[in-house]
């Protein structure tokens, strides 16, 4: 093949220089790439570096703790506070241990769970597959913090202001069951099984069943086929899902906050938020850097093991002819297993949430005398119980109206901008594949993906909670702008992936044909790219829309009362001993998500791509 030879250097003449500059400047694509690189650098790299810097810089609040220091001095105070002080055990070692324990157990349970479900749904002849497959991802669409709330509504005990279902029935619920690691692990498993399910089922679909049939002809029994043929083939997907589950479960905030905080069980994410909302913020920054490092390491390990950058995406591939495995006698026990799973992860949480939203006193059963529409349409004057007298019912509540408005504003503006940017980013990464700028854009976009939501918002908090550029950018803390900005940038990885899969379908040759016909860059975008990208754009837009609408982790740190979204309002109410109203909000969000998802599916979108 072609020998490697050095490109000869050319003498630089005036004309050559002039032509070269003209070639670069005259091409709008180059200009777009140039500005994209600058913008991404400002929105991702600079905030990250800034937080790193802040974790080494004396802030006003700690002036007294650090003798002879001025604001802005270099200090190791925060890192020492976190890693080498008498408090290290409580503020760092314990939360880290908790996070790791949770990550470990969630992974150990949810990866096999998701993989088995995937195998059953793809490769077995389990009865009722069509109906089951319509439901199997619904638990994943219910936001994880909603599931945490429904866990509480079943298991809440004397520790909370109001009882849960079981306590109300007179069954004693111990603290370890109601709150803390056990509860967190179970709830997260009901959510993160989806990663393994999506990845493994994708991988299974791409395996030709002839491979298994060959083994059968050779005389292998079902177990041998599974362990010697199928499992090794899907192993990369399982591994990928494992890493992803670890990294996500370590970084999750909403579930841990709902189920851990009230008994003082902290994980990294929840502890970090306390530091950032209170003081010393520098410690919070240092912690979130450690969280980012942790997440980055797991994902890099994944890349090393799987050997490809793309492994965080679902493994694609066309379905080949596949014959189903006969389950024989174990058919019905396995069906029951699936039904129990769906019952626990989907039906029960929804049922409990809906029912509790109608209760006067939570935990006092579902008798007529304990049912009310108060949480939905009541007013404080005629509150049926003391527990409900803090707030009007949902539809009479001005906070709800405002939160609806905020949520709508945030998700519509956010997802429109994200989706448009995503298409552009996708365009640049696909057209620049293998070129330095394409790689640079891809690498930068990948960074927000590495970061847990809370850590990411911590970066933006640290960057924009004070005026920047000599007042050119005012302090954005407490503004809608900041929440919007964080939501947009955090969703870049997903949006650009959907953009690039969209652009990948538009062959470069379609554009080249237009170039030869004399179409300019903008003409090509207008006449070729936009008309062809429309469909993919819409479904990408809707999936981002859903994701922003249910987001809690990402915005928790940046939230101020004026900007409360539905999910944060619900989170807030659940802390205030108003579970009914919090539940009602959950239900509103879930219904909204399911409807949007249905529309997105119609348009060819796929919820599995929004992980």
């Amino acid at each position: 093949m072609a020998k490697k030879e050095k490109l000869p250097k050319k003498p630089m003449t005036k004309e050559r220089l002039k032509n070269q500059i003209f070639n670069v400047i005259g091409n709008p694509f180059n200009m777009i790439v140039f500005f994209t690189l600058i913008i991404l650098f400002c929105l991702i790299i600079i905030p990250l570096l800034n937080m790193l810097q802040n974790s080494f810089m004396v802030a006003k609040a700690e002036l007294r703790q650090i003798p002879d220091a001025k604001v802005g001095d270099y200090t190791l105070y925060y890192w020492k506070y976190l890693l080498a002080s008498p408090l290290t055990k409580t503020v760092f070692v314990e939360p880290l241990l908790h996070s790791l324990i949770i990550g470990f157990f969630v992974t150990v349970i949810s990866v096999p769970l998701g993989s088995v479900i995937a195998w059953l749904m793809v490769r077995s002849d389990i009865p009722g597959k069509k109906i089951l497959s319509a439901f199997i991802l619904i638990p994943y669409m219910i936001p994880s913090w909603c599931k945490a709330l429904s866990w509480l509504s079943v298991f809440r005990n004397e520790l909370s202001g109001s009882y849960g279902l079981l306590t109300g029935m007179g069954i004693h619920v111990p603290d370890w069951l109601a709150y803390g690691p056990f509860a967190i692990i179970i709830v997260m498993c009901m959510h993160y099984y989806a990663f393994s399910y999506i990845m493994v089922s994708g991988s299974l679909r791409s395996i030709n069943s002839e491979l298994e049939e060959m083994a059968e002809i050779q005389g292998a029994n079902r177990i041998q086929i599974l362990s010697n043929i199928t499992l090794p083939l899907v192993l990369p997907a399982v591994l990928s899902a494992t890493i992803m589950t670890i990294s996500k479960s370590i970084g999750t905030y909403g579930v841990a906050a709902n189920l851990g905080n009230r008994i003082g069980y902290y994980v990294l994410a929840t502890r970090m938020k306390e530091f950032i909302n209170d003081s010393p913020k520098g410690v919070g920054y240092a912690m979130s850097l450690l969280m980012i490092a942790l997440a980055a390491v797991t994902i890099l390990v994944n890349q090393k093991l799987i050997g490809t950058r793309k492994s965080y995406a679902t493994i694609g591939g066309k379905g080949t002819r596949s014959n189903l495995m006969h389950l024989g006698k174990s058919k019905y026990p396995l069906l029951i297993f699936l039904l129990v799973f769906l019952f626990i992860s989907m039906f029960l949480p929804l049922f409990v949430l809906v029912m509790e939203s109608f209760q006067i006193v939570p935990g006092r059963g579902y008798g007529w005398d304990n049912l009310t529409l108060y949480a939905w349409i009541g007013e404080v004057e005629n509150a049926p119980s003391k527990g409900l007298s803090f707030q009007n019912g949902l539809f009479k509540n001005s906070e709800f109206g405002r939160a609806c408005w905020n949520t709508a504003k945030l998700s519509i503006i956010g997802s429109v901008i994200t989706a448009i940017c995503g298409q552009f980013l996708g365009y640049i990464t696909t057209r620049g594949r293998g070129k330095w700028y394409g790689n640079a854009v891809e690498q930068m976009i990948f960074i927000p993906y590495l970061m847990p939501g809370v850590a990411f918002s911590a970066i933006y908090f640290s960057m924009f909670s004070q005026p920047r550029l000599g007042g050119l950018i005012p302090s954005l803390y407490g503004t809608f702008m900041l929440i919007l900005l964080a939501s947009i940038v955090k969703h870049f990885p997903f949006a650009s992936r959907s953009g690039s899969s969209n652009m990948m379908q538009i062959s470069v040759e379609l554009e080249e044909a237009a170039t030869i016909a004399g179409a300019s860059f903008w003409r090509r975008i207008r006449s070729i790219i936009i008309p062809l990208a429309k469909g993919g754009f819409l479904s990408g837009f809707l999936l981002t829309f859903i994701s922003i609408a249910k987001e809690l982790d990402l915005i928790a740190i940046l939230m101020t009362p004026a900007n409360y979204t539905l999910s944060f309002l619900s989170f807030d109410y659940s802390k205030e001993a108003m579970p009914q109203v919090a539940d009602a909000i959950c239900i509103v969000i879930i219904v909204f998500i399911l409807v949007c998802n249905r529309i997105a599916n119609r348009l060819g979108g796929d919820v599995s791509k929004s992980m």
Binding site: L7, L510, A514, I516, G518
Partner: protein, 386 residues
Amino acid sequence: MSKIVLEHIDKFYGDNHVLKDINLTIEDGDFMTLLGPSGCGKTTTLRVISGLEKPQNGKMTINDEKVIDADVAFYEEPSKRGLNLVFQSYALWPHMTVFENVAFGLKIKKMPKKEVEEQVMKALDTMRIAQYRDRYPNELSGGQQQRVAIARAIASSPKLLLLDEPLSNLDARLRIDMRAELKRLHKETGTTIIYVTHDQVEALTMSTRIALFKEGEIAQVDTPLGIYTNPVDLTAADFIGNPRINFIDGKAVCNGETLTVHSAFGEYVYKKDSIKWDEDIPLNEEFECVLGLRPEMVDIYTQNPNHKNTVEATVYASQPAGSETMVHLTVGEADFLALQIGLVEYDMNQKVFVVLHPSRMNVYRKETGRLIKYAKVKHHAGEMDD
């Protein structure tokens, strides 16, 4: 109607040197085929000519007008080169009708509406697809899409038409039809055509000249007949012709006047005029060589024909395929393939008599792989049958 000259074109992708010092002149009205296996640089050359790729070295002119001068980083825009391109994938815009696809380039040139309509219909008529003008590309068959793609390329009356493996996505029958269509198009319009293909039959049947590519370099430029009879090296010989050429190992000595070759077929002595003297040939010293023998130049007889170049051979296997029969033969150490017209049956291990024509064989030097003795062309050598 234009003459294209490429001088010293080099193209790198990173450290990968894909085009190495390409020099090629395409005369006005030529049907020039760039032929070679995949990955040899022929499509890249086409893209350099079209302006979609910018080479790092070299110059290119169209009708003596400068289009590329890498020394001063000058690259004329594709649309200003007066050419058009048909892509391998056709690259029809799926959201536009046939009419809109063909009209797109004309509209961009701000041609008056009436004229656009005329030009488009003319192109569609030429390709005989006027009845599909309002269909979308996905409502057409592969062959029809192909015609739309060509219509789109000729609508702007380009001086130069570039075709990148245009027939590779068609089935065998359609391919033969389209070959005829393209040949007619070339004759009717008189446009210079540059055609990229890996299919030697397309190259041999359609072109006026062929440029044979090998690993980023041009190995040989010649007429189809020239390339077929005298491939310049062993790889080229192996690539051109179906079924493949037979190679028979031998030993050769050259004394400056004649070339004497010993092989399983016996001894052949070639005269001065058939030897390619510009090649590196050792004098008065035995060296290894390879004889190139086209399968169709072997005549098989069951009775001894008493021809001076007869050898006895054994049938290894025979494959009758209706219009022709392929026969595997062995002579001593050498085994080779012969092609007979029509249906002929031979038994396995049957003894037959084979008449060979030494003057119609090529001789290659094994060490360099280069052609050192030309084969004579049969049709103007009725007198030379040996």
